[in-house]
């Protein structure tokens, strides 16, 4: 009989009236058992009237739709959600370098399949932060840095021979991210927003959201925001021209233009010497990124199950 159904309500009301009538009927008398029957009658009336009132309220508010909900038995219904640790193609290779990686991170040239068609001047270089080697279930946000082939520190880019000077080092001080350095004079939007993320997701434990693009003298970062707004949240342009802020309707995105002089309009800007611009870009981006996280639970969890 449904907890919110009319039959139960009617039955309870009738039982309440019956208990009331019975209590009154058997109230008089001085036999030894009369006090017992009177006590039982009073308690039965109280319980049934309160139960009936509760049914009326519950039927109105639909708080407990079933007996199992009332007795909190539904918690055993859904199975515990089990999430397997992620596995990616570079796991074995990185695991072999976990000792040195956990200390200072790891930088390596990345040559995924089809990289020759990405129109890059050199193979992408990846920086994997130290925490990647200790938080083995976590997926990390990614910062993609794009610069022209010949751009160096004087143009706001990096010296390929001293790339470790620009990557943030201490995990304790910043929120770690995987960095991908690209050299190209002709940024390919499809590569940046579709091909590269797909390859990187297969090779490393990367987050599905919260990526950033830092473009040195390129529009690539800003076009990425528009092409895949769920993945790319932040863009920085390091060049002489300010870039527009994302449209208001994409409020989780943010942009920064790092330029020589403030133009008086546009998005957030920082005045910086050319050699300070890339570190400034990283500093800004790292303040925005989500944390590296293990795969989330996506289903209900039995609160009483062993965890």
């Amino acid at each position: 009989m449904s907890l919110t159904g009319l039959p139960l309500l009617v039955l309870s009301a009738v039982a309440s009236l019956g208990a009331l009538a019975g209590t009154v009927w058997f109230w008089r008398g001085t036999a030894w058992w009369r006090p017992i029957s009177r006590t039982a009658g009073v308690l039965a009336c109280e319980a049934l009237i309160l139960f009936t009132a509760g049914l009326v309220v519950n039927r109105s508010l639909e708080i407990f739709p079933s007996w199992s909900a009332l007795f909190n038995r539904h918690h055993a219904a859904p199975p515990p959600t089990v999430v397997a640790d992620p596995t990616t193609r570079l796991d074995v290779w990185l695991h072999a370098r976990a000792v040195e990686g956990a200390r200072n991170g790891l930088v390596f040239e990345w040559r995924p399949g089809g990289v020759g068609s990405w129109h890059l001047a050199a193979a992408p270089v990846i920086y994997v932060p130290p925490r990647y080697f200790t938080a083995t279930a976590a997926r990390f946000p990614v910062v993609v840095v794009v610069a022209p082939t010949r751009a160096g520190p004087a143009q706001g880019a990096w010296d390929p021979r001293k790339i470790n000077q620009v990557v943030p080092h201490a995990d304790a001080e910043v929120n770690p991210a995987v960095l991908v350095f690209l050299r190209t004079d002709h940024p390919d939007e499809t590569v940046l927003t579709e091909v590269l993320p797909g390859q990187l997701d297969e090779d490393l434990r990367t987050a599905a959201r919260g990526w950033a693009v830092v473009g040195v003298g390129a529009d690539a970062g800003f076009t990425a925001l528009a092409r895949d707004p769920l993945r790319f949240w932040f863009a920085v342009a390091i060049d002489g021209a300010p870039r527009p802020a994302p449209p208001d309707e994409l409020a989780w995105q943010a942009t920064l233009s790092i330029i020589e002089r403030p133009p008086g309009h546009g998005s957030v800007q920082v005045v910086a010497r050319p050699e300070d611009r890339l570190p400034a870009a990283f500093q800004w981006v790292y303040r925005q990124l989500p944390a590296p996280l293990a795969a989330p639970l996506t289903g209900p969890v039995d609160p009483n199950a062993p965890r």
């Binding site: 006590t39 009073v42 790891l106 976590a138 790339i163 409020a251 039995d302 609160p303």
Partner: protein, 422 residues
Amino acid sequence: MPPNSLGAQVTAIVLAVVIAVDTALVWYRVRRWWGWLVRGTAVLLCVATALGAAAIWVNRQMDLFTTWSEVAGHRPLAPVTGQTTVDEKLPSGSQIVTFNVPGPASGISLAAKAYLPPGYDSPQGRRTHYPVVEALAGFPGTPNLWVVSLHIGDVLDHEIAAGRMAPAVVVFPLQDFDQTTDSECVDAVDGARFDTFLTRDVQAAVVAQFRVRSDRAGWGIMGASTGGFCAVNLAMRHPDLYAAAGSLSGYFTAITDHTTGDLYKGNLRLRDENSPLWRVTHLPVPALPVFLSVASDDRGGYQQLQAFQAAARPPMQVSTLVVPSGGHTGGVWRMVLPALFDWFAGWLAAPQISPVPGPVKPIPTHGPVKQGMLPNCEPAPSCTSKPDGARTARSGSLERTQALIRPSPVSLRKNGSPRRPY
């Protein structure tokens, strides 16, 4: 013996039974003129004890009152603004604290509770600004819903320890003056301004009293039942303040009834603007990720969820989690809370750690990447041959020019296998 304890429940039931027995015994023993007075008193006591037992059962379900002072109508005592009192310390090191929200913008001043994550008072925690989730209870309801009924501290500790959630501060403000009047978290016409209180004032008080992020990227809002309505409504009305919103068994159409009073004084436009379902169909939609959860046997809530999900459109991102059964109860919310907090963590910015104050350390100089290992090259000449000057043994001997500078990840990296790792 607090009013939400098992002891109070047992005492109330025993008292009801004793009064019933006494009534049965005394009924015919008083035959003079005062007999009717005694009998009348006995009946009233029977009713009172029965109602008391029922009220305590309801209170145990909802944890509305945790002290007899609150039952008597006194609001929870708030510490002086700027100070916090520790209510509970959990084994993980996290804490539940009480603080005051002075509310200069709204004119409302109420106490609130907050969860501080493990490590909040550690040396690194003192340099950290945490993301915040604001959690609103239903009506009637208080922060005890989260802290006492749902054991939210344990849930948060577990999700943080599992790495599925970054450490965060969770704030539990009061959203009503008392348990008989539902504010609906709106700025009532000629009435209490709870919208302003829960957004501007709570954020200002939390930022001032705790080490938390003050930017939109670091703030989310959630709620259960009426609190779910409040969370989605406030986030849609203030998308500049919240990066994400979550609703547990919430509804999406503003209501006015005998518990709310006339909040809008006949201003239907204002009432519509406080209805998320109306907003999502009639106004530009903010870029707001929204998490909606309900039990499918909670018919009203399920219908509301379906209607909102059908009406939502980009750039709003709607995630739903429907539990098969459980009704409109804390049992459902307890099951869904871990997934909700995991979802929040994916949309909120990470804790922001300030650098250690002190002398600036020079950045180590590293060797050229080009001289590093090419780990995922095909075994080809371009990959296997190393440039001149690169190290060739894992012992780590450095070339003279490199030995003058500190070793680096890059220089250590150089001696790995050139084999393609996949």
